[in-house]
């Protein structure tokens, strides 16, 4: 592993997931009124996203980050404590 690979990978992962987060949190919510015309499981979609959907996406983002980071740390031989 070249020096600095760990940080490069971490940074790329972090900013990638952050971009998804911004998209879900701000772009999607910004268009909630438009999304509301779509029906999803009996909910207006805009309402559903803010009440449940986005929350599950947040959880998935953190889960994915943890999984990737475990891999990255294994690859780079990093073991904190």
């Amino acid at each position: 592993m070249p020096a600095g690979a760990y940080w490069r990978k971490t940074r790329r992962l972090t900013f990638g997931l952050l971009a998804v987060w911004v998209l879900v949190t701000f772009v999607l919510s910004g268009f909630a009124a438009e999304l509301n015309s779509v029906d999803f499981l009996g909910f207006p979609l805009g309402f559903y996203m803010a009440a449940q959907g986005s929350l599950f996406i947040y959880l998935a983002l953190i889960w994915y980050y943890n999984r990737r980071m475990r891999k990255v740390e294994e690859e780079c031989g990093i073991d904190d404590e």
Binding site: G4, A33, G42, F43, A51, L55, Y65, D80
Partner: protein, 680 residues
């Protein structure tokens, strides 16, 4: 590790079972005639004794145990403790009511308070844990160097945390006075005792393990009433799954109600009332004199004629209650005008996002929604009492995993709250609205008496219209068991849950303030050579002082304190977030830059809140500083400007000052596991 983990899980399973058995026993006793008051007492005594027992079992005289629970808290349990730490009295009692009143717009809180955890996970928690000291000021001081930044961080910590802890203790006072009819002030000091039994003897260690216990109670208490409600309305006990249908029914009912002539007449009358107040305000001070003269004339006329005494006394009281001077009249009438205007406003469908008549008002709502979400997410990722919790895990990996578990446990409440609001609305629409006022259910009168529900038959048709009903947001959670006709034991459970939410948050906050004072100010700045024993004595004494101070403030029932909590997010966000994040992700950030960013950010946030919300400080002789909000952004989202200014200030000043010294470079390199760049 594994055997102790299963042992812990076994303990908490046993504890949960014990609590459920206790609730079951009370339910049986209630059937056999146990009075509600005793049920309330049983919940209060039982839960506080539990917390005390855990507190005593986890007592400690070790500094690492006291500040960070010995860094031995497994990810799963740290997640639970963080959940309880995070969800305050406001989340438990207020959120569902806010969602009831503001529909989609209220979901900004749900999004913000959960979305912030993504920022915590990606940007902060792993790095804080890798750093591995005790407090947030520790981190900033180690990254940027020097004690000045530590002091600024301590001040910001106290600024953001103190009002928050006062609000929790205030919440305890409200809950105990309502459910076990203790006097408010006594309730506050019962709360104080409840907080101290957890934190005084065992610090973070005891707080962590009681928070886990409190989480169990609070989530169970939150979900139970709405699950029962869901069962009785839809036949499915999982409200989060089925409330879409109920939302549709609510919408149909809304269509009927919004179009009904009786509603329109009530709204029209409120509009007239609001206009009348506006006219009177515009004609001040003459309007006040005229009103007094009119009343006097009427009284004299009645006295001269042979009118009944009661009528005369009534008018005299009315005259007596008139505001004494034009300034107070203006204040009082403005409040009344706003209240009337609010009731006169055209109603909004629950699920409608950013409703408005024209593009501009829709745009304003959208901007405010997004700005609020931004402040709450960033504030979440900057509140010291939350970030502290990620110092307590054994490893960096466990810190990351515990953010995941935190969000799981927090999510359980936050996906229930919107369902809560929809079910409550359904109940109100079917059992309250369009019903003759004389035939309203009994709980309405009970809650009107304490001012939580207001009913005014403005169009005098004897029937309750939606516009004639005002609800305090807290009443939704507190009264749902009664609304749905559940036994009193459910109300007691809700009270115990609210108490757990308030106490657990207060514990975490109190400890944060204490460690900022004792660890950062006393040990790091004043007496670095003091013995660990002395440090603990100082910590515990300070804990006591801060707790008593907070309870004393709460006992005064400060009216604005609850509003101030909402600002804590903006304050914490603008103080800490830019400095923390750039400290990790931007090597070039310097001490001068960080200091500038923190000061500029907090100052701008406070300035904005002050000028938009107050505009005058009577005791400083400042007046007339009221300003129109920028881009129509409300003061609750003041952090939008503060946080942005913080980032800009750090970047600009850092680039203008010399690159940070080698220690800072090394610190960042260690956080990132990059090779240190040693200077030749």
């Amino acid at each position: 590790m594994l055997p102790s983990l299963t042992r812990l899980q076994r303990y908490y399973l046993l504890y949960t079972g014990g609590f459920l058995a206790f609730v079951g026993a009370l339910a049986v006793l209630e059937r056999h005639g146990m009075p509600p008051r005793w049920i309330g007492y049983s919940f209060l005594v039982f839960t506080i004794l539990m917390y005390a027992a855990i507190g005593i079992m986890s007592r400690t005289s070790d500094v690492t145990e006291f500040y960070v629970a010995g860094r031995r808290v497994p990810a799963f349990f740290n997640g639970m403790a963080t959940g309880a730490d995070w969800m305050s009295a406001a989340s438990f009692i207020g959120l569902a009511g806010t969602l009831y009143l503001s529909g989609y717009q209220g979901l900004a809180f749900v999004l913000g308070w959960t979305g912030g955890f993504v920022l915590v996970a990606l940007l902060l928690a792993p790095y804080l844990r890798r750093f591995g000291e005790y407090t947030i000021p520790d981190f900033l001081s180690a990254r940027y160097g020097g004690n000045l930044i530590r002091l600024v961080a301590v001040a910001a910590t106290i600024l953001a945390s103190f009002v928050y802890v006062v609000a929790q203790i205030y919440g305890v006072g409200v809950i105990t006075s309502r459910f076990v009819s203790l006097q408010f002030e006594i309730g506050v000091f019962v709360g104080l005792a409840g907080i101290l039994v957890c934190s005084f003897l065992g610090g973070m260690r005891a707080v962590t393990w009681t928070q886990v216990a409190q989480y169990v109670i609070l989530i169970f208490a939150y979900v139970t009433p709405v699950a029962i409600l869901s069962w009785s309305v839809t036949g499915n006990p999982v409200p989060q799954l089925v409330y879409g249908q109920v939302l549709q029914e609510v919408r149909q009912r809304e269509e009927q109600l919004f179009a009904s002539p009786a509603e329109a007449s009530a709204r029209h009358l409120y509009r007239e009332r609001a206009d009348d107040y506006r006219r009177r305000i515009n004609e001040l001070p003459d309007s006040l004199h005229k009103e007094r003269e009119n009343l006097t004339a009427k009284i004299n006329e009645l006295k001269a004629g042979d009118a009944p005494m009661r009528e005369i006394v009534g008018l005299e009281r009315q005259r007596h209650d008139l505001p004494p001077d034009p300034q107070q009249a203006r204040q009082r009438w403005e409040t009344a005008m706003l209240a009337a205007a609010e009731r006169a406003a055209p109603p909004v469908h629950h699920a409608d996002a950013f409703p408005g008549d024209d593009a501009e008002s829709r745009w304003k709502l959208r901007i405010n929604f997004l700005a609020l979400v931004f402040c709450l997410t960033v504030g979440t990722a900057a509140l010291p009492h939350l970030l502290m919790r990620f110092y307590t895990t054994p490893t960096v990996r466990a810190a990351r995993e515990s953010v995941f578990w935190s969000l799981v446990f927090i999510l359980l409440l936050y996906i229930t709250a919107p369902a809560y609001a929809v079910f409550a609305k359904y109940e109100v629409f079917t059992h309250l609205v369009d019903i003759p006022i004389a035939k309203l259910p009994g709980w309405v009168a009970a809650w009107s008496k304490v001012g939580m529900i207001g009913i005014e038959d403005i169009n005098r048709d004897g029937i309750l219209q939606l516009a004639e009903l005002t609800l305090n947001p807290d009443v939704i959670v507190l009264a749902t068991p009664e609304i749905a006709g559940m036994p009193y034991v459910v109300s007691g459970l809700v009270a115990a849950g609210a108490l757990a939410a308030a106490l657990s948050t207060a514990d975490g906050l109190l400890l944060t303030i204490t460690s900022a004072l004792s660890h950062d100010v006393y040990y790091r700045i004043m007496r670095p050579q003091s013995s660990t024993q002395l440090r603990l004595v100082i910590s515990k004494s300070l804990l006591l002082v801060v707790a008593v101070l907070a309870a004393t403030v709460a006992a005064q029932k400060p009216g604005t304190i609850l509003a101030m909590v909402a600002w804590a997010f903006s304050i914490a966000g603008s103080a800490f977030f830019p400095a923390l994040v750039l400290g990790i992700f931007w090597r070039r950030a310097t001490r001068a830059g960080a200091l500038a960013g923190m000061l500029v950010g907090v100052s701008l946030t406070l300035y904005y809140i002050f000028r938009v919300e107050f505009g005058s400080i009577p005791w400083l002789g400042l007046d007339g500083l009221h300003m129109a909000p920028w881009f129509g952004v409300q003061s609750i989202a003041a952090g939008v400007f503060g946080i942005a200014a913080g980032f800009v200030a750090i970047v600009t000043v850092s680039l203008l000052t010399r690159a940070p010294p080698q220690e800072s470079e090394r610190f960042v390199a260690d956080l990132r596991h990059t090779p240190r760049r040693e200077e030749p």
